[in-house]
């Protein structure tokens, strides 16, 4: 193997890592938003994402694209519909879970909502099991098999940058920027930041804190819903246990970036995606989680607040 091949391998791993990082980041944002506002680790969030992939699958099946056999071209309209359905479904379900399982425990000791979140996680997993059964389901491969580097630029390289990668990044990045914009500039976004910093003072400003919290769960759900379509189309499979691994990775990414910090979650997602992909490329798939979680341990030992974590103390 020459030197060119080594660099190719590295570049290929980086592209895969960035794309995978995008889903992880979108899910991680759901963890960090909720943690930032009510200091709850929403254990059910990964499972919400899993249900999102099922919602996509069911929608695509109803629209006649459950299996890609005999389809010429990509049914873009169906994909847009599936994504909107998944976003609405995950957003709505997350708001519902907050209303039923977390809000009544708002004044309870910190452990109570945490246990409640684990309960919601089990409920979601079992809904998934009931919905699509215990075996992995094939997710239709509806995007064109077009690689820009070899087919458009005529490069002979291991690196692939396909329509799939472009699809994921061109959706995920604007969604993240959109989220940042909402938080920074809208009335609701400012109210979110106020509640996150001092919910009692936010009440005194006239902010309806419960509504702001529900809105936060809505945002997290919308992002998980969008991520679920991207994941399905990229990986072409899903299973009812998907939420556990996806959720654990995303949670790790959120902690890595500094839980509660929105840019941190996005950064953490990409760092984690890259690290996972590099570990797989150079050490083999069985080492992926070892690499990921070793990094988590190292970060937490040397920088417990995460990469971009806030220094606590101003009654954050």
């Amino acid at each position: 193997m020459g030197e060119g091949k080594d660099i190719d391998l590295l570049a290929a791993a980086i592209v895969i890592g960035i794309t995978n990082g995008a889903f992880i980041a979108l899910i991680a944002l759901g963890y960090t938003l909720v943690y930032g506002i009510i200091e709850l680790i929403n254990f059910a969030h990964g499972d919400l994402f899993m249900l999102g992939t099922f919602a996509c699958l069911t929608t695509l099946t109803i629209l006649g694209f459950g299996t890609e056999v005999g389809i010429a071209g990509t049914p873009w309209l169906a994909l847009v519909i599936a994504m909107l359905v998944a976003m609405a479904f995950c957003g709505g379900l997350n708001v519902l879970a907050e209303r039923i399982a977390y809000r009544p425990l708002r004044k309870a000791p910190r452990l109570a909502p945490l246990i409640s979140a684990i309960g919601v996680s089990f409920i979601f997993i079992n809904i998934g099991l009931f919905w699509q059964g215990p075996t992995p389901r094939r997710f239709p491969d509806l995007l064109p098999q077009y690689d820009f580097l070899s087919q458009f630029f005529g490069l002979h390289t291991l690196v692939r940058f396909t329509v799939k990668d472009l699809f994921v990044l061109s959706l995920a990045v604007p969604l993240m920027l959109g989220l940042a914009w909402v938080i920074q500039n809208t009335r609701m976004g400012k109210a979110m930041r106020a509640v996150a910093q001092d919910s009692e003072m936010a009440l005194q400003m006239g902010i309806d804190v419960n509504r702001v919290i529900a809105f936060t769960f809505l945002l997290g759900g919308l992002l998980a819903g969008a991520a679920s379509l991207m994941y399905g189309l990229y990986n072409n499979n899903t299973v009812f246990t998907l939420g556990f691994t996806a959720g654990l990775k995303a949670f790790t990414a959120a902690v890595l970036g500094g839980i509660g910090n929105v840019s941190g979650a996005a950064l953490g997602g990409f760092v984690l995606g890259l690290l996972a992909s590099l570990t797989v490329t150079y050490f083999g798939g069985q080492w992926e989680n070892v690499g990921v979680f070793s990094l988590l341990v190292i970060i937490l030992v040397f920088r417990p607040t995460g990469l971009l974590g806030q220094i606590q103390g101003d009654r954050a």
Binding site: L203, Q204, Q310
Partner: protein, 236 residues
């Protein structure tokens, strides 16, 4: 008719009765001060009025509404704004955003005048609009907390320990400003440890001791009252 009427309020922390039947009135245009030592219940009284704490018994009337039955986030809409103990500005938001939050209940419409009013009262705030509020000095944070409360255009301003932790020259400035705000027509209920300063600017005062009002009079009379002089003004 008084603008605020607190009647026989009992507030508890768990099973500890912090307020043992507080009654007080604030008339339109007054500065009324609550003085007393640490733990007497001054802050608890303000927090009960602001709706953060709920009394077990008693009523807090503002116009025709009973504040003890009003959701906490609606109280500012009835015309009460609270500049709390310890300032509690939103440290990670900008100074400008803090002021904006103060006007949250009023929506975004016609708040330009209110910004200008705050800038006139506190020129130093205007110089720091884009800064994170947490980076302000203690005095500036206090000004911001008062400014934020004024942004709600309240009928009644609750001020809790505005002099706490400030250098004497800043204390002077803050009290000057409170007088100025009052001269513009704002009714103020002021809680202070610095009884001397508070009685200088107030019209009337109440003295609290372990959750009860033990004395109420005009500020002038309180300042010359022997018990007050000994206990709160540090004179023998």
């Amino acid at each position: 008719m008084p603008i605020l009427e607190v009647q026989d309020v009992h507030t508890y922390y768990g099973n500890i009765e912090a307020l043992k039947g507080i009654s007080l009135k604030v008339e339109q245009g007054e500065i009324v001060t609550l003085i007393g030592s640490n733990g007497a219940g001054k802050t608890t009284t303000l927090r009960t009025i602001a709706g953060v704490l709920r009394p077990r018994r008693g009523t807090v009337r503002m116009d025709s509404s009973d504040l003890t039955k009003t959701p906490a986030n609606q109280i500012v809409r009835l015309g009460i704004a609270h500049s709390p103990e310890g300032r509690r500005i939103f440290a990670r938001m900008t100074v400008r955003e803090n002021l904006e939050m103060g006007a949250f209940a009023r929506g975004a419409a016609n708040i330009a005048d209110d910004y200008e009013r705050v800038y006139t009262l506190f020129p130093r705030i205007k110089e720091r609009l884009k800064q994170r509020a947490g980076t302000l000095s203690g005095g500036e944070q206090q000004m911001l907390a008062i400014g934020r409360a004024l942004m709600a255009r309240p009928k009644l301003l609750l001020l809790d320990e505005p002099s706490m932790g400030l250098a004497p020259v800043l204390v002077e400035l803050v009290f000057q400003t409170i007088k100025e705000i009052n001269a513009q027509g704002m009714t103020v209920l002021l809680v202070e440890q610095n009884a001397h300063m508070a009685l200088t600017i107030a019209n009337r005062g109440y003295v609290l001791q372990t959750g009860k009002i033990v004395l109420s009079d005009t500020a002038k009379a309180l300042a010359s009252n022997e018990m007050v002089r000994k206990a709160y003004l540090g004179e023998d």
